[in-house]
Amino acid sequence: MREISVQHISDAVRELAIQACCILPQDVYAALAKSQESEPSPVGKSILKQIVKNADIARTDAVPMCQDTGITIIFAEVGQDVHIVGGSFEEAVNDGVRRGYSEGYLRKSMVAEPLFDRVNTKDNTPAMLHTRLVPGQHVRLRLAPKGAGSENKSMLKMLIPADGIEGVRKVVLEAVLAAGPNSCPPLVVGVGLGGSMEMAALCAKKAASRDLASSNPDPRYAAFEEELLELINKTGIGPQGLGGATTALKVHVEFCPTHIASLPVAVNINCHAARHAEILL
C-alpha cells in the first residue's frame, strides 16, 4: 500500500491546468506545423501560420493560447494499492482546478446549474472527473480543458447494426459539417463507437484527447481513422472554415463492446487547441 497525500494530488492538478492551457502539446504542435506545408489555400496557410505563432507566444509569455480555457475534463486512474491520505480525492482535484485557474490567470467558465440561474462558480470548479480504479500503486491524471465552441458541436446518435460503416461515416461527416468554422478548425475529431449511450460518449471524449501521434491499435480501426480523416478533409471547410484541405489534423476512433442490437456513435469535436497534459504520481 502506497500513500499519496491529497496535497500532492491538488498540486499536480494545479500544474496540469496551467500547463495544458498555456503550452500546446508537442504532438499537436508538430501536426499543425506539418499542415502548414501541405495546405494548398493561401488564406488557409496564413491562418495555420498564425496558429503556430500563437502557440509560440503563449509558451513564451506563459499565457493561455485561447481565452476559452474551458470546462476542465480530468481522467484519473487510481491504483487500487494507493491509499489517499489527508482528505477527499475529489475535493483535492477540485482544489487543484480552483488554484490553477485563479493563480494561472485562466478564464473561469463554469456555471453551477445549467437551466435557471446559470451562476458562475468563479473558480472553474467542478472538474468533469472520470475516475477508474486500476491495478497498481500509482495515480495517473490526464487533464484536457475543453472550450464550448467545439464541445457544443459534438453529437451522439444511436444507430442500429444495419447502419454499419456507412452510417458511422455519415454521422461523423454530419458533425464536422455542422461544426464548420465555429469549432475553430483544423479539428481533432474523436469518435466513440459501441458501448451504451454514455460509454460511447466517454470513448469519443477519450479519442478526442488522445495523443496525435497515436493510432488505434486495431489495424482495422486505424485504417478507418485514416479513411475518416481523408473524407473530412474533402469537405473543403479548411482552416477556420475559410476553405482548404486541412479541416482536421487527426481522427481518433475508440470502441467498446456493445449490445447485439446497438451501434452507438458519438463524435466529440476538438479544436486545434487540442489541449492535454498528463502526470503519473
Binding site: V43, I47, Q50, N54, A58, D61, Q67, T69, P181, Q240
Partner: protein, 187 residues
C-alpha cells in the same frame, strides 16, 4: 494571398463598403469589445428607448471574452468568440445604433446578412484560438460600461495591426461559401 490591407477603426462608410470578402486586413484604432451579456443589456436599453452607454455609430464590435490579464499585461488571451450567438441582437444594433462592423468567428444568420447589406456593414473573422497572438495587438483596454459583467463588460480596445479576414462583405459576398467551394471534393 492578396496583399494585406491596413485599415482604421472606427470605420467610415468608404472603408466599410470597400472591404471585400476574402481580403486579409490589419486593423488599427479603436474597437469595442462586447459579447452575449453586454448585447442583451444594449438591446434592453434600446427597448426602453434609452441611449446606449457608448455611441456605436461607425463602431466595430469585437465578440470577445478575454481571460484575466497577468500583472504587467494589458489583457489576457483575447481571441474571437462565436458570432452566431449575437445574431439575435446584431440587426438591431446595425439598424438602430449605427454599428459599422463586426469581428468574430463562425457563420451568421441570413437576417444579419440582410441588415449588413442594407446598411453597408462587413463581418470579419479573427483566427479562433489565436488569443495570445491577438492579445499582443491590443495596446489598451478600457471598460466603458457594465463593469459588473467582468470579462463580458463593454470595453474599448486600442488595437494595432489586429489581423482579421473579411468573411461577409457589405454586398453579401460570403467567403466561408466561396473559400470552401474552391476546395470541396465531395460529391
Amino acid at each position: 494571398m492578396s496583399e494585406i490591407k491596413k485599415i482604421r477603426a472606427p470605420f467610415d462608410e468608404a472603408t466599410a463598403r470597400g472591404l471585400q470578402a476574402g481580403q486579409c486586413v490589419l486593423i488599427s484604432g479603436t474597437i469595442i469589445a462586447a459579447r452575449d451579456a453586454a448585447h442583451k443589456k444594449m438591446i434592453e436599453a434600446l427597448d426602453k428607448g434609452q441611449a446606449l452607454p457608448v455611441d456605436l455609430h461607425g463602431a466595430v464590435i469585437y465578440y470577445v471574452g478575454p481571460s484575466p490579464s497577468k500583472p504587467g499585461f494589458v489583457i489576457g488571451s483575447a481571441g474571437p468568440t462565436t458570432a452566431g450567438r449575437m445574431d439575435a441582437y446584431a440587426p438591431r444594433l446595425i439598424r438602430e445604433a449605427g454599428l459599422r462592423g463586426m469581428i468574430g468567428k463562425g457563420y451568421r444568420k441570413p437576417e444579419v446578412v440582410a441588415a449588413m447589406q442594407e446598411y453597408g456593414v462587413p463581418y470579419l473573422a479573427a483566427v479562433g484560438g489565436a488569443g495570445a497572438l491577438i492579445a499582443r495587438c491590443i495596446k489598451k483596454y478600457t471598460v466603458l460600461a457594465y463593469a459588473e459583467l467582468g470579462a463580458e463588460a463593454l470595453a474599448a480596445m486600442e488595437v494595432e495591426d489586429f489581423p482579421a479576414i473579411v468573411v461577409i462583405d457589405s454586398k453579401g459576398n460570403n467567403y466561408y461559401e466561396m473559400g470552401q467551394a474552391a476546395y470541396r471534393q465531395l460529391a
